[in-house]
């Protein structure tokens, strides 16, 4: 009896401690009751909690932020956020600490006589504005550029794109500059291009909830166990619930923590993912496992242009003009095309054993199985990134496993607002908000109307994409670059060339950042910025969920938001009529400008199936998925859904609500637009309708493209493949996570992961320093042989977070000719023991 009660006691204490420690890092220490602070949102520790979103990967985990005495002291998972249900990974657990690194930038710095010196904001802003005016007047709007980020808040991204594209008021050529790029070009541009080419609407159709509905997970070169930890935890839970039926298929070029959990691991040679995807399509077609009705109603077959080059020459001189062209073909022609990708051929090409390939194909094609494909950088950072993305859509389109709960191709993102800011706001050089492009006159007209500027001011010629933008600096064509919220001088491929250009060429570089980075190192002006909850913001994650947060604490010292910086520079750009640029484009009330910007931006999205939530809803809810559709056209959309409203489900709300968050786009059961489309087009059978694909008669494209070799393959001199990426503990260039002492202690520096057999052949032991060289340079790393990642024989893996040894000095700046996204995953290197 005594035993029993003691055990019970222990159990209950353990449980309560477990719960409280799960909730946050600070609450664990509730030994003594602390005074109850005034106000409803504070707890017994005196912390005031407010909602926000994690600053790191694209999962978009909701967090609650605890403030005490004007300092953020704790974060905990937000149980009301659908994306993570209250859990975080270790980076999210330490989220608050990224604000308080010892060397936060708190004062503007201006380079004088080669050294950065502290200056006042007036000096810095006047200098930037005068440089802008000088260069715009002398060289025109193509000589200035802005390099932003998928970590821009939506407000900042919107203000930035408006700023750049309106520079025509100042420049001598009278048109704005399209030289604005987010670092998302290096992150998911291939997914964007593929979505646009296939569905004519960007972003995934599904939701993270697919994970609970699916039974077959196909991961293409995505180490989700480390890169999307909270999502992977959901996948594994689905697996635990039905150990026998649920299968996890991992396709990759190295054995990762994901492979360890996988039921089937296919290790293929780099670049042969193209062939494997075609083999799966072949298997589906040959075995008549395709959904005939679905194909007839919803797809159109096309053949892509081949031999499209690699963008290795400046200006893309080696890329054919019609690289993006697609030519119609019939189903039979498609069938003949994929038939060359036989099991034998693909097995030999890719190095994957036949049984494994066939087993994977069988799982994917099985009509009874619900299949979700996940991918991230393995596909996107690929010289045929757009193709390989589309080849996976092919598989889902052929089998009809798309836009249904538990079925769908799901492109994950790496940055918290790659979707929200880069894609939806349209901060790419060729885009405008809401999937519009500068080259389209209609789109320019709509934009000019909302921005209240003359349409001629918007430049119809797409600007330079990321790699060409940095090459233009080297070629002396860009004279001014403003870098915000990102660190390109660590993250650009073939880094040596671009760092050298930044240091030697006549280019004025402004960097807005929170910490000293490898980019502030080459800057002429450094502006100290506010980050995360030091300013109001909103991020959009990979499942189209927009999450808003309030300003919770003051930024340190004189740090200011990027949006304020752009306002101030625009205020200093005088126009001929005495007005300033800010009067024209930033004519907002200083008290309520966040709301005004949001509502202005939102007006782009309404009525076209990209509807965003109103500001007040966004502020209140813990994340809202778009399309956030209203029932009637009067309130905010141009389409009236009253007649179909009753048939559409609302998984994140109640039936009968006036708003519906669409969790599965193109599916009439969940998407009022699709329901309306089907009602208007009775000849369209089934419940799926790709209503955005107007250009293809509302059909998605199944694309026939072949395997083509990588831009650089191992040879006698450089016999190894090099793949770069991330680790769980650190994020991107490590500027934030490396300042969290706990994370830094866990993984203090980048190591090169070697295959144990290769290490043995080369006589390299764990901990030895090895020099990794490519044609473009060489870097020294400590070797890790029995590590968490085991690359295939003949390849090495190096993460890129370490600013003291930058692997990008050796990566290649080849890019996908369609998406213009560089390939960080494949280049040829040699290894020498130091």
């Amino acid at each position: 009896m005594e035993n029993f009660s003691r055990r019970n006691f222990l159990k209950s204490t353990a449980a309560s401690v477990a719960i409280s420690s799960m909730i946050g890092c600070e609450q664990k220490k509730t030994a003594e009751p602390l005074k109850q602070a005034a106000g409803g949102s504070s707890d017994q520790l005196g912390l005031e909690w407010d909602k926000a979103v994690c600053r790191f990967c694209g999962t978009g985990c909701g967090v609650l932020v605890g403030r005490k005495d004007s300092k953020i002291v704790a974060t905990k998972g937000d149980p009301d956020c659908y994306s993570n249900k209250g859990l975080n990974c270790i980076k999210g657990y330490f989220l608050s600490k990224i604000l308080y690194g010892e060397d936060r930038l708190t004062k503007p710095l201006i380079r004088k006589n080669g050294k950065l010196e502290e200056a006042t904001w007036e000096e810095a802003l006047d200098l930037i504005a005068s440089k802008y005016v000088e260069i715009l007047k002398n060289d025109g709007s193509n000589a200035v550029a802005m390099f932003g980020s998928g970590q821009w808040t939506i407000f900042e991204g919107y203000a930035a794109t408006k700023f750049m594209r309106s520079l025509g008021f100042v420049s001598k050529d009278g048109v704005g500059s399209n030289n604005i790029e987010p670092n998302a070009r290096m992150c998911m541009a291939s997914a964007v291009a593929a979505f646009m080419r296939t569905f004519q609407s960007d972003e995934p159709m599904g939701s993270y909830e697919d994970i609970e509905h699916a039974d077959t997970f196909v991961l293409w070169g995505a180490n989700m166990a480390e890169m999307h930890p909270v999502l992977f935890s959901r996948i594994v839970d689905t697996k635990i619930k039905d150990k026998i039926h649920v299968k996890l298929v991992d396709l990759g070029t190295q054995f990762t923590r994901t492979s360890e959990e996988a039921d089937l691991y296919l290790q293929f040679k780099p670049q042969t993912d193209l062939a494997i995807a075609n083999y799966f399509a072949n298997y589906i077609v040959q075995n008549n496992l395709y959904d005939k009705d679905f194909i007839e109603t919803n797809t159109v077959f096309k053949r892509g242009q081949t031999n499209i080059g690699y963008g290795l020459k400046d200006g893309g001189a080696d890329i054919p003009k019609d690289a993006e062209a697609m030519f119609p073909m019939t189903f039979d022609e498609y069938k003949a095309f994929v038939s060359t990708y036989t099991l034998e051929y693909v097995s030999e090409l890719s190095g994957v054993p036949k049984e494994k390939l066939e087993e994977a194909a069988r799982l994917i094609a099985d009509p009874k199985r619900k299949v979700v494909s996940f991918w991230t950088m393995g596909f996107n950072q690929h010289t045929r990134g757009t193709w390989v993305n589309q080849l996976v859509y092919n598989i889902h389109l052929l089998t009809g496993k798309i836009s249904k709960p538990g079925n769908g191709p799901f492109s994950l993102t790496g940055q918290p607002s790659a979707c929200g800011t880069a894609r939806e706001v349209g901060t790419f050089s060729h885009r405008l908000p809401a999937d519009m492009v500068v080259a389209n006159e209609e789109h320019r007209k709509k934009t000019a109307e909302i921005w209240k500027i003359p349409v001629e001011k918007i430049n119809p010629k797409p600007g330079l994409h990321t790699v060409e933008m940095f090459r233009a600096i080297d070629n002396g064509k860009i004279k001014l670059l403003w870098v915000q919220v990102t660190n390109p001088f660590q993250s650009m491929p073939n880094l040596n060339r671009y760092r050298k250009a930044a240091q030697e060429k006549d280019v004025f570089i402004v960097v807005s950042d929170v910490y000293p980075t490898r980019s502030t190192e080459v800057a002429d002006v450094v502006l100290p910025s506010a980050m995360w909850t030091e300013k109001e913001g909103a991020y959009g994650n990979a499942e189209r969920r927009t999450q808003h947060w309030n300003k919770i604490v003051e930024p340190p010292g004189e740090a200011k938001t990027e949006i304020w910086q752009m306002f101030e520079v625009a205020k200093r750009m005088k126009l001929d009529d005495g007005k300033t640029l800010a009067d024209l484009i930033y004519n907002y009330n200083p008290e309520t400008y966040y709301k005004e910007i949001w509502e202005e931006y939102r007006s782009f999205s309404l009525g076209i199936g990209k509807d965003l939530a109103p500001y007040d809803v966004l502020k209140e809810k813990h994340g809202v998925v778009w399309p956030y559709v209203h029932k009637t056209k009067e309130i905010n959309t141009k389409v009236d859904f009253t007649e179909v409203w009753e048939n559409v489900e609302n998984p994140e709300g109640k039936k009968g609500d006036d708003f519906i968050s669409v969790k599965w786009r193109y599916n009439a059961k969940y998407d009022p637009y699709a329901a309306k489309f089907l009602k208007d087009h009775p000849e369209h059978k089934g419940e799926i309708a790709f209503y955005k694909a107007k250009g293809n008669d509302y059909k998605a494209v199944v694309l026939a493209v072949p395997y083509e070799a990588a831009a650089e393959e191992p040879n006698n001199e450089f016999p190894f493949w090099l793949c770069t990426g991330r680790v769980l503990e650190h994020w991107h260039t490590g500027t934030m996570t490396m300042r969290v002492p706990e994370l830094r202690r866990a993984v203090p520096r980048a190591v090169v992961n070697l295959n144990p057999e290769d290490a043995k052949t080369l006589g390299i032991k764990g901990g030895d320093l090895v020099k990794i060289s490519s044609k473009r340079g060489s870097v020294v790393f400590p070797a890790d042989v029995n590590g968490r990642s085991i690359p295939a024989k003949g390849s090495v893996f190096i993460p890129f977070f370490d600013e003291t040894r930058m692997v990008n000095e050796i990566t290649i700046d080849a890019y996908c000719p369609i998406s213009k996204e560089p390939d960080y995953k494949k280049c040829a290197v040699k290894i020498e023991k130091v």
Binding site: G101, E102, D103, L105, L116, Y515, P516, R518, T520, E521, V526, G734, M738, R739, P741, R744, R745, P748, R749, L769, V780, P782, E803, T804
Partner: protein, 319 residues
């Protein structure tokens, strides 16, 4: 209790008239060697690889050397035998046998440098003037060996100030991050990046002193030497000294005295660390300084105005 300590008697030698200071040739050489030993002990810090270890055990150009007393302690404590330890100790043993046992003390041991300093300070600051028997060290040696066997611990190595000083010289200075750049790269918990460092994070270049608490023990000995007992450690206590005294007794390398030249000025007594060893030869009872406690420091040779003293070889040393 008085019989325990015999107070410093008035020396039978008269105070000498001042004389022109003779150039201390041997002292210079000895200082050079002593400094050299310290550099040898610190050399691995600067990336040299020919020497490693401490005065207890070391490796020079691939040869192992072990302090014979440490080896004896080890055999008694671990109750085992090791050819390597025996061989390396024998090497040292043979060497010191031929150069004169306590050459180790005055030419090699870094603690002796402290003793020499304390000797000077003692002249000014001595609070007590206690003088134990110079034979005390033999009992300490015996106790060390017995205790090592009884407790199964190498007793002297645990408390050895020679060990402490040489350990701290060997590992107390850390410049690895500077010298090897990357070797210390698994540093944990350092704050990353620093605005003042040209806005780039670098591996911190620094020299750190990691001296450990054992040096407090050495300091205690030094203070005893200064304030309580002159040369307490080196002359009266150190079992290594005792060991080498025994070894040195039969060594061929001895101080030789020319009785005819000696004018009994007594200068040698003033500079000698163990001056009782000089009594017999100066009184003409022997041609050599036969007592093993003599450290062959050659201070007496330097100071002798008549060059009556000199380094010599006792040819019939086995007798």
């Amino acid at each position: 209790m008085t019989f325990l300590f015999q107070t410093d008697e008035k020396s039978q030698i008269k105070k000498n008239e001042s004389f022109t200071k003779k150039f201390s040739k041997w002292k210079l050489v000895r200082r050079f060697v002593q400094t050299g030993i310290i550099f040898l002990l610190v050399s691995p810090v600067f990336g040299f690889t020919f020497f490693s270890g401490t005065l207890i055990s070391s490796e020079i150009f691939g040869f192992f050397l072990t302090d014979p007393l440490a080896a004896a302690d080890y055999f008694l404590a671990a109750k085992t035998f090791s050819v390597l330890v025996f061989g390396s100790a024998l090497t040292v043993l043979v060497f010191y046998f031929f150069v004169g046992g306590r050459v180790f003390c005055s030419w090699v041991c870094p603690v002796f440098l402290l003793t020499e300093l304390s000797e000077k300070l003692n002249k000014k600051f001595a609070v007590f003037k206690i003088k134990p028997s110079p034979n005390q060290k033999y009992f300490v040696l015996g106790a060390v060996l017995v205790l090592s066997f009884a407790t199964s611990k190498p007793i002297f190595e645990i408390v050895s100030p020679i060990g402490f000083v040489s350990q701290n010289l060997a590992i107390g200075i850390d410049t690895k991050s500077k010298v090897f750049g990357d070797k210390i790269s698994l540093e944990s918990g350092e704050i990353y990046g620093n605005l003042k460092k040209n806005l780039i994070a670098k591996d911190v270049e620094r020299v750190r002193f990691l001296f450990n608490g054992s040096l407090w023990f050495v300091l205690t000995i030094f203070l005893i030497d200064v304030f309580v007992v002159k040369n307490w450690w080196c002359k009266f206590t150190c079992p290594v000294g005792a060991f080498y005294s025994i070894l040195g007794k039969k060594s061929p390398a001895k101080i030789k005295i020319n009785h005819e030249a000696c004018n009994n000025c007594g200068k040698c007594f003033k500079v000698c660390f163990v001056n009782e060893v000089l009594i017999a030869p100066v009184q003409g009872k022997s041609d050599f300084v036969l007592d093993g406690s003599c450290t062959n420091c050659l201070n007496c040779v330097d100071v002798c105005p008549e060059s009556a003293l000199g380094a010599g070889i006792k040819k019939d040393f086995w007798k």
